[in-house]
């Protein structure tokens, strides 16, 4: 029994939504990152599914791009986070508002 493509897309949407909600709601920086990763991977899933459906390898290519960018972003982001933790002793995103106008 093959799983219909729609199911994958629904899953992708659900994961994306979860990720979005997580970004909006969670205050812990690490969880924020995890939510962003969730969003990115949801998108990856959608890309690959649609690539399969349309027989277009462009989607899989895009997924690769996203994976690379996600990895880089995680590296940079986590190092910034570590620095912030070291100086401010907090990982609560709401308390890092130095750029307020």
């Amino acid at each position: 029994m093959t799983v219909p493509a729609g199911a994958y897309l629904v899953l992708s949407a659900a994961l994306f939504t979860l990720g979005t909600v997580g970004v909006l709601v969670r205050r812990t920086a690490l969880v924020l990152f995890m939510s962003i990763e969730l969003m990115l991977n949801a998108v990856n899933l959608a890309f690959v599914t649609l690539a399969r459906v349309h027989g277009d390898l462009g989607g899989q290519l895009a997924a690769f791009f996203v994976l690379v960018v996600a990895a880089v972003e995680v590296v940079v982001g986590l190092s910034i986070l570590v620095h912030i933790f070291r100086t401010r002793d907090t990982v609560d995103v709401d308390e890092v508002d130095l750029l307020r106008g």
């Binding site: 970004v23 909006l24 924020l32 995103v93 709401d94 890092v96 508002d97 307020r100 106008g101």
Partner: protein, 618 residues
């Protein structure tokens, strides 16, 4: 003498002014006096020669000299041009002749003054400017001279500028004159627009033959009114006379020359120059010029009665006599007006110079209450003053009698005005006698040993005595009335009047009555009280107070109001309000920058949704 000499009449005193102005310090008093007096004398001699020429060749073209094109834009072209015709000749002779006498007098009068060269620079400059005024061939050149004499008046009234009163008087003179000048400029513009020219000969030609259809034209009337308004400023008529009494702050020879004999007559000259225009301007002459003249004459004469400052008496007297001249012009007696202008120049200058002698002898004392008893110690001065006063009062056979008589005769047809003139004659004789009595008769009220002035001052005085005494005969019919014959071509045929004996007798009687009344009232140094009338007279019937309340104070208040309330708080605030609005908008938007990551993320999401929706729904 050809037309080439005309510019030299102006150039000589001007050169004198330049020389004394730039190198006066190095020339020393003698040098300065020589330069100043000789330049005016030279101008006078040239004037005589040119006039002789003019008379000798009747029917010849009046000499016009076109110096260069001054202003030229499009169809508006004004040359710097001078003209030598009868009117110009007369005034030039008066200005340079009397001017010369006063220059000589000043040599004595100002001998002790540290600013000697500056004085003569200004005086020469004045003569030059006045000559530009009278010799100008078009209205604009005349106006140049007109304002320049105003400048010289300002400089000379405020000559002793360290005295605040003098500085203020100079400023008042210039500003009040300027009001008249503003009207004058508008009159020039109006006249030019209507006639297409500012040249006097052109104007005469256009308006000459039956007015060219412009008789009574409203624009012509407006022009005439505006020009007359200008004349009232310079010639100190109601209501722009207020500067003249204050102008007495200047040195007395200045008062004699500028504020009696020459500058103040510029308004009379203007009307005479523009006679064709005024004649064609319908009701202006009889309904505006004459009444203003008559009213001013009476007004000023009455105010003169209560003045204690001898110079102020003479100042108001001048205003009054100028009123006579305008009255004469208004009733069509052009020649009479100019005859009176001439005789007035003689006897008023004489009176001022006599007053100057008194001041000189008594170290500046000029208050009638502190004078007296001078008839013994200063006989020449006394003679001069008496002759001048009698001429002013119109006592025959002195010059004033002849000219005043002519004016009265001319005014005879206009009932009310004639009565006013006659009444003024009485008052004139009254105040003149009063001045003479209080100044010279009775016992001396001041200490000191006065004596007649030195030769430099005495000779001009004597000269003017002669002129005041016999000058009137120039108008005597039985001598051929040379004055009128001379001036006739200027108006085109006005005969010397032939007043009947009854008129003459009445006029003489009135004048004599005034003299007698003055003598009786002030004999023994009395001063009749005159009750409440005195207070009104002392306040010049409220004119100065009116100015103060209606013009000066509101003007200053308005200026301050505009400066503080409107400019600082109003207009500027509006501009700052704009800036403040920007700042406020900025601080509002500033609150959107919370620095909160999650809010920014939410914003991103919202934006993305909107864009996506738009893209999908399009």
């Amino acid at each position: 003498m050809g037309a080439w000499a005309v510019p030299w009449v102006v150039a000589l005193p001007l050169a004198g002014a330049l020389v004394n102005g730039l190198w006066g310090g190095r020339l020393g008093r003698r040098g300065v006096s020589l330069v100043a007096c000789l330049s005016v004398l030279g101008a006078f001699l040239l004037s005589v020669a040119l006039t002789r020429d003019l008379v000798a060749s009747p029917g010849a073209e009046d000499r016009t000299v076109r110096l260069f094109e001054w202003i030229a834009v499009g169809d508006f072209r004004i040359p710097a041009a001078l003209v030598w015709d009868r009117l110009a000749a007369l005034l030039a002779l008066v200005v340079t002749g009397v001017g010369f006498l006063i220059h000589v007098y000043s040599v004595g009068y100002m001998a002790e003054d540290p600013d000697y060269s500056r004085y003569f620079t200004y005086l020469n400059l004045f003569v030059a400017s006045m000559l530009v005024l009278v010799l100008g061939a078009n209205l604009l050149v005349l106006f140049v001279g007109w304002e320049l004499v105003g400048l010289c008046s300002y400089l000379l009234i405020g000559f002793w500028f360290e005295r605040p009163a003098a500085a203020a008087a100079g400023r008042k003179a210039f500003v009040v004159n300027r009001v008249g000048d503003a009207a004058f400029v508008l009159g020039i513009l109006s006249t030019g627009s209507l006639l297409g020219t500012l040249d006097f000969r052109e104007m005469a030609r256009l308006l000459g033959e039956g007015g060219g259809g412009l008789r009574g034209h409203p624009a012509l009337v407006t022009s005439a009114l505006l020009l007359f308004a200008g004349a009232t400023g310079k010639s100190a008529q109601l209501p722009l006379y207020v500067w003249l009494p204050d102008a007495m702050e200047g040195p007395t020879p200045v008062s004699a020359l500028i504020h009696a004999a020459t500058m103040v007559t510029a308004g009379v000259f203007l009307v005479g120059r523009l006679w064709p225009l005024f004649e064609a301007a319908g009701p202006v002459l009889p309904w505006v010029v004459a009444p203003v003249g008559a009213a001013t004459a009476l007004f000023a004469a009455t105010v003169a009665v209560v003045q204690y400052d001898l110079k102020r008496v003479l100042a108001y007297s001048t205003i009054s006599q100028l009123g006579y001249m305008f009255l004469a012009l208004g009733v069509g007696g052009g020649t009479a007006a100019f005859f009176h202008l001439t005789t007035h120049a003689f006897f008023k200058a004489l009176l001022f110079l006599a007053a100057g002698s008194v001041m000189h002898a008594l170290h500046g004392q000029i208050d009638l209450r502190r004078l007296g008893g001078l008839w013994k110690s200063m006989p020449l001065t006394f003679l001069g003053f008496v002759v001048g006063a009698a001429s002013l009062s119109g006592i025959p056979p002195l010059s004033g009698f002849w000219s005043k008589e002519e004016i009265l005769h001319a005014a005879h047809g206009s009932g009310g005005l004639w009565l006013v003139a006659l009444g003024t004659s009485f008052v004139t004789a009254y105040y003149a006698t009063r001045a003479a009595v209080l100044a010279f008769l009775g016992d001396p009220q001041s200490p000191g040993r006065p004596h007649d002035p030195p030769p430099a001052m005495a000779w001009p005085l004597a000269g003017l005595v002669v002129l005041s005494a016999v000058g009137g005969f120039l108008g005597a019919k039985w001598l051929g009335a040379p004055f009128h014959a001379f001036l006739e071509p200027a108006w085109g045929g006005h005969e010397a009047p032939a007043p009947d004996l009854g008129e003459v007798a009445l006029a003489v009687a009135v004048a004599t009555a005034g003299v007698v009344a003055g003598w009786l009232a002030h004999r023994g140094r009395r001063e009749p009280q005159l009750g409440p009338v005195r207070r009104a007279l002392e306040a010049q019937w409220g004119v100065e107070a009116l100015y103060e309340a209606a013009v000066v104070r509101p003007g200053r208040a308005l200026a301050h109001l505009l400066s503080e309330a409107v400019d600082l708080r109003g207009v500027d605030r509006a501009a700052s309000a704009l800036a403040e609005a920007v700042v406020r908008a900025g601080s509002t938007i500033r609150t959107w920058q919370t620095g909160n990551v999650r809010q920014y993320a939410a914003g991103l999401l919202a934006g993305a949704v909107v864009l996506f929706a738009y893209w999908v729904l399009r």
